[in-house]
């Protein structure tokens, strides 16, 4: 069977890839894609610990479902903001959205 460490390493790698995407991408939509990868990494960890430590309870799975709901809410609001910004500024490049800089 698969040792628990394999899942945790995959989740950590997925999280780091997502972090790179958030920090390095220019496009604001791509930054949100990175956030999604990080949320998925968290969910892998939650389900893994549920399966290995407490499979007789449902807590870990419920936690993962709540994270799904939060991720959906985050994407809806985030993409609405990006579309609104695009309408007003004609750009989605994060470096050019500096109107709050002084």
């Amino acid at each position: 069977m698969i040792p628990i460490s394999w899942y945790l390493i995959v989740a950590a790698a997925l999280f780091s890839i997502g972090l790179f995407g958030v920090l390095a991408r220019k496009n604001a939509v791509a930054i949100l894609l990175g956030v999604e990868l990080m949320l998925n990494a968290v969910n892998i960890n939650l389900v893994t610990f549920w399966r290995y430590n407490a499979p007789e309870t449902v807590t870990g799975q419920v936690f993962a479902i709540i994270v799904f709901a939060v991720a959906a809410a985050e994407v809806a609001v985030g993409l609405a903001l990006i579309i609104s910004i695009y309408r007003n500024r004609k750009t989605v490049v994060a470096d050019e959205l500096d109107m709050m800089k002084w």
Binding site: S5, L23, N43, V70
Partner: protein, 173 residues
């Protein structure tokens, strides 16, 4: 090397490879498609963990809704995508360093936990155990997770109303 391990390695490699493509590929629409591949890979990992319901929810909610939202957003902001321009900003090398450091830090942190070095697989599920039924009952039972479930639905409703309000063009400006 059992079949499970081989399957896990295939799915993990597919997940991480497509996740890497998500953050590096030039065209945004391709990044959105690679995200779908990543989400399917993660769903396969859930299935390997005997979390069938989570795997289905992953496909229905993430691939069916969130990825489609991303594709719509990419198409709606198409004019300024600059597919020909570099997809990464000037600080990408320090971002890569930070990502590697965060992976190393997480690995170090995990390796200090005693359970990390165990080579045992997951405990065997009791035969006839109905995890999906248990989960469904727990989500609507007042003694379990009814309140968090309802709060999550209120959060979703509030987020959707907020999204409609934010993205709605002000017509009488």
């Amino acid at each position: 090397m059992t079949t499970m391990k081989v399957l896990f390695l295939i799915f993990a490699a597919a997940t991480l490879g497509s996740a890497f493509m998500v953050v590096t590929t030039k065209k945004m629409i391709h990044a959105a498609f690679w995200l779908i591949a990543t989400l399917f890979g993660v769903a396969a990992l859930y299935a390997l963990l005997n979390a069938g319901f989570i795997a289905m929810v992953q496909i229905v909610v993430y691939v069916g809704a969130i990825a489609i939202l991303f594709i719509f957003a990419v198409m709606l902001t198409r004019k300024d995508l600059r597919d020909s321009a570099k997809p990464l900003n000037a600080n990408w090398s320090s971002a890569a360093l930070l990502a590697v450091l965060s992976f190393g830090g997480l690995y170090l942190l995990l390796s200090q936990w005693a359970g990390f070095s165990s080579t045992e697989g997951a405990p065997v599920l009791a035969s006839g155990m109905d995890t999906i039924g248990q989960l469904g009952e727990a989500l609507v039972s007042p003694n379990a997770y009814l309140l968090p479930f309802e709060v999550a639905s209120v959060l979703l409703l509030a987020a959707l109303i907020g999204a409609v309000y934010v993205a709605n063009e002000a017509k009488n400006k």
